[in-house]
Symmetry: C2
Subunit: 148 residues, 2 copies
DNA sequence: GTAAATACTTGTAAAATGCAAGTATTAATT
DNA sequence: AATTAATACTTGCATTTTACAAGTATTTAC
């Protein structure tokens, strides 16, 4: 089957991941990576730097500087862990939570729009398929860095 | 439904698009963007610069320099169009074709591995779902830059 | 109690980015 | 036919991003 490659390639592009600029929320420019970082911090309980960087597959030194920039923009807070003082725990500030929620809203609207072209059955099938695909990608030994 | 956002977010990450380094083929380092450019040139008939840049959603000035780098690496050729001398037509060199084919191979292997966790019915369903999703994304007015 | 490992930061140099302003060519207007 | 506007692409910046190597600080292992 020749199709899958074309599909994935297009899909990857559809996500808009090639262009760096993500969005502007309440006057602050949010890059794509910042949005991913905010998303992940938001749904974890005071994760360490390592944890988020690893989850996103970003080099830890690059991540360190990205976090510095997010802190400068007052979207993220860094607290020394009381248990292990090498570790810094990350959390969203009030403004960070607001920005993360705004991005969620944008994405939800987008997804609503995308799914509006499907009937309920198709919607359900697509969702299950994406789940299955995600799981399979995770199972694959080549996962996440087929190109790395 | 809360799930779609999480699914898409994860899926986007699974594609490994956050990390820039793509692969090394016959001694040449290929960045993620280069691989996308090679892919698109490869499946179009001597497209113009504009066309590829637009399709990939890359700023034309950035693209211009990326092409320069690909030409320096002897992967891409730029020919002045005889019809409109403002236009440059892009094509892959022999080496460029080889590199593009190598990337195809890597991706195909990856996809084979991913689909090996599914039975034929699931495989078929997932493929159809991705197709439907792609089409719906294209139909959406917000397409391609929900964050732009 | 010293060595090794871990978590994170900084120096630096290379690459990528995008706006503004440029060149060259073609199309549109008068 | 001559000027203007539009298009296709390039270059000059100044900024941002990147990742390797080398650093600090703390904790774990022996």
């Amino acid at each position: 089957m020749e199709e899958p490659r074309e599909l994935l390639q297009t899909l990857a592009r559809q996500f808009g991941l090639l262009n760096k600029t993500c969005c502007q929320i309440s006057g602050v420019d949010i890059s794509l990576i910042h949005s991913h970082i905010l998303y992940e911090i938001g749904r974890q309980d005071t994760p360490s730097m390592q944890k988020i960087a690893e989850r996103l597959g970003i080099d830890i030194t690059t991540f360190s500087r990205q976090i510095q920039s997010l802190i400068k923009n007052k979207l993220v807070k860094k607290t020394a862990s009381p248990e292990d003082r090498r570790v810094y725990l990350l959390s969203l500030t009030t403004e960070g939570k607001f920005v993360a929620a705004s991005i969620d809203k944008i994405m939800d609207d987008y997804l609503d729009d995308v799914f509006s072209f499907m009937n309920d059955f198709e919607k359900e099938t697509v969702m299950r398929s994406l789940q299955l695909l995600n799981m399979s990608m995770q199972k694959s030994k080549m996962c996440c860095t087929p190109m790395g």
